[in-house]
Amino acid sequence: MQGDKIMLAEQFDTMEQQHDAARLGVWVFLATEVLFFGGLFTGYTVYRYLYPQAFAVGSNHNNLFLGTLNTAVLLTSSLAMALAVHAAQLGKAKAQFRWLLITIAFAFGFLVIKAIEYHEHFNEHLWPGPGFTREMSNKTELFFIFYWVMTGLHAIHVIVGIGILGVIAWIVRRRPFTGHYYSPMEMSGLYWHFVDIVWVFLYPLLYLINRHVS
């Protein structure tokens, strides 16, 4: 059909090839992100191996309820994102917009809960530096350096994700995607699911160390 050619860029032969190229590009970017966070995970692994008790003490000072809740929030946001892509594939205009808004709402929820946690941590003097609580060793302070940097970097990714999804939602409101062309929706989804995966690993590493020891 004549109309089908509109979204096809010059260098591609078919829409499918264009879609595959877009997906490949996003995955190459996600591979760099894996290594970006990977450096922090590697550092964490080394120091946890060297100072397991100190890390356990630090982990026990994290709010297990809020951390678990946040994990559930992000997992559910991924479901909403998948359903948004699904709606886009089927050309459902209202549904894709609504599921995007729901995803963004959950993302904000995550940030709010994180802010509450950070506030608690500040009040307990768990910010590394001269003001760090003297009740814990400097090895535990090291745990909290990793905690703040890793969750902080992750939170920045969540904020960027909200920005991206917001732009997509704005586009979708005026011109919804269809089964013929929905790449931006799927590619944004890939980024969002990646952010979720990072948290899936942050949660046990930061919240679940030695929880069985009362």
């Binding site: 995970f41 678990t68 995966i197 690993f201 069985h212």
Partner: protein
Amino acid sequence: MSAHIVPVRTYLVIWLSLMLLLFATLGLAELDLNPFNAVAAMTVAVIKMLLILLYFMHVKFSSRLTWIVAAAGFLWLAIMLTLTLTDYMARGGLGP
């Protein structure tokens, strides 16, 4: 496009599995499995990651090329972790 459309029901099943795994990892953390607590937690995390990768991120329905690039990122991370840890673990005098 001939993209595979995953049914809504599949997404819901995956989400439910993820939630159950979340409570599983929480439950396992409360048990004393020393020294395997960390192993158990990481195993559950990897399973959750695979579910998200394969179904939410459509890797199961994507080309081999996508699969290879996705795996490559994690492969290089594995190399970084393995070589770094073998270095630290092999040093006498350092250690828990």
